[in-house]
Amino acid sequence: MLLDVQDLRVERVADGAPALAGVSFRVVKGRILGLVGEHGAGKSLTASAILGLLRPAARVVGGRALFEGQDLLRMSDADLTRLRGARIGFVVQSGHATLDPSTRVGAQLIRAMSIHRPIVKAEAAWRAETIMSSMGIPEPRQRMREWPHELTPSTVQRVVVALALINEPQLLIADEPTAGLNITTQMQILDLLHLELRRRRIGGVIITRDLGVVAQYCDDVAVMFAGQVVEQGPVAQVFARPAHPFTRTLIAIMPDRLATGGGRAYGGPLPESGGGCPYRPRCDQAAERCATAPPLVGAGVHAARCHFARIGAA
């Protein structure tokens, strides 16, 4: 097992409000986990917490994140900095924000290598060019001399992926890597990520709001809602027999399945805080007992956090 996150809790410093209320999931080497949920569910926050990149407004207050035998949540900043970009690659949303606008592309790739280990410039340049080529960037040598703002969005994102992979990490975390990209470009980038993860036989986490990405590119899925993982398991099982009402809803409203004119409201009410199930205001199955925290109901690797969950039943 590559990454084992156990009961991660994060709260807002200002008022102690919980932002992540016990997130747990596992990433297995050679498999890709899709972390899916709505805006504000806590997906990016989870990645930030694990990588030690939380903004001062939030802090970790519980849980463990085990990677290669060490708890990331208890590592020093210095150790985490050594890991990031080397053993753990990170692809962020909005590649424009990642690339340094004042440094040429090639130089950034070289720097990404040299800050982790001593490397001869010629070798670094060669590696940079090679990886850019394998990312499908045409004329890599020319691109290396260019500035970030001269690149097309697709190329920017490919460079960001290259930066994440250049030091041969064991784990890749990609946070909404295709947000804002055209759909044909999105497919190219996802294909690329998928290919690289498989080829290198490493583990990956793809954070997304799009269940379709999970269906088409991921092996396992963890569905997040209001700062918790409400369902997780292998993609095939979860899609075939979703156990949590939220997962069922998400699947039912996918474009090729959505039947309009149903009159049902899918979004709207804010998640419930307090001890009960946070999905209660939006759930069509809510009952008395949902005022208490739902248990984690599981059968093997497929589990859901719901009073009514029955894993394996159709």
Binding site: D191, I253, T260, Y266, G267
Partner: protein, 323 residues
């Protein structure tokens, strides 16, 4: 069915002086009452220009824009203004269009102030009723744009656009920034409006964005229609290579489709990059030499489909899927 909005051979150019480029070329399109037309295209395709053209928010260089049967291509803005209670638009960016100093209620009410003689009590009641339909909470009506999340803001925008009960509603990528649940709610709302007889034009960056509610789909590439037809027909059997690629790029919940795609190279071009011949030829997996010299126009195929591809009439325009 009555045609409510129509574009006849409309061409639109954008940009200053010498940097003028063609955003739309010879577009023929119409939308009928009680129907939803979905216009799909990636960036650079001209969706926004098309949306604006239906409402004559841009003046076409060529061709005619019609509304309710009347030619409004050259109508002065003064007269058009009066029509703007009957033809409205929801813009791509939900946040920047709204006056940040006004409450949601005031924003939704504004078209009523402009176009109707309703008293303030009547307006209040109308907005309350509409808010209930939109599932906007009463407390949210008293908030300002800066205090609302983007999906609630989008509802305010939609409210503003439908409060005068227009005959034609145009939406430019309305679900782009929304969560799937909020998007589903919006699509449901559009379906209701359609049942009520509204003619709706909706643009989207992929077919899935419009598919649940569109009766007809038009696919745009570099300012031209490459395919147009009934949604069900296109989903079942897309004829233009680009449409097929778009469908293939769509990430469905169907796990059996994993890995089988039409893979296009490169990125969607912008109007400045246009090459002679078929605009899609540089990226088309089945392009031939004649595609680069002769530009195809949308040909009628069968009774209800238009496709702009030189190969479609021979029946050789379908691309085999690769793994």
């Amino acid at each position: 069915m009555t045609v409510v909005g129509e574009l006849r051979r409309v061409s639109v150019s954008l940009g200053p002086g010498e940097r003028r480029v063609a955003a739309l070329t010879r577009i023929d399109m119409q939308v009928e009452e009680g129907r939803v037309l979905g216009v799909v295209g990636e960036s650079g395709a001209g969706k926004s220009s098309l949306a604006r053209s239906f409402l004559r928010l841009v003046a076409p260089e060529d061709g005619a824009v019609l509304f309710e049967g009347s030619d409004i291509t050259a109508t002065p803005e003064r007269r058009l203004r009066r029509l703007r209670s009957r033809m409205t638009m929801v813009f791509r960016d939900a946040t920047t269009v709204l006056d940040p100093r006004l409450t949601a209620r005031a924003l939704i009410e504004e078209p009523l102030r402009l176009h109707t003689g309703m008293g303030s009590g009547e307006r209040r009641a109308a907005v309350d009723a509409l808010a209930e339909r939109l599932r906007l909470r009463p407390a949210e009506l008293e908030r300002r744009p800066g205090e609302l999340g983007i999906d609630r803001l989008q509802l305010v925008n939609v409210g503003r656009a439908i409060v005068t009960q227009p005959r034609l509603l145009v939406l430019d990528e309305p679900t782009r920034d929304l969560d799937t649940a909020a998007a589903a709610d919006l699509l449901n709302l559009l379906a209701e409006l359609r049942t009520g007889g509204m003619a709706i034009v909706m643009t989207g960056h992929d077919i899935a964005a419009v598919q649940p509610v569109a009766d007809r789909i038009a696919v745009l590439y570099l300012g031209e229609i490459v395919e147009e037809g009934a949604t069900a027909d296109i989903l079942r059997d897309a004829l233009h290579p680009y449409t097929q690629a778009l469908l293939s790029a769509h990430l469905a919940a169907d796990l059996t489709r994993r890995g089988r795609r039409i893979r296009l190279r490169g990125e969607p071009p912008t109007p400045e990059d246009r090459t002679p011949g078929c605009g899609f030829a540089p990226r088309c997996p089945i392009a031939e030499n004649r595609c680069r010299s002769g530009a195809p126009t949308p040909n009628q195929v069968g009774t209800d489909r238009r496709v702009a591809c030189l190969r479609v009439l021979e029946g050789t325009s379908r691309i085999p899927l690769t793994r």
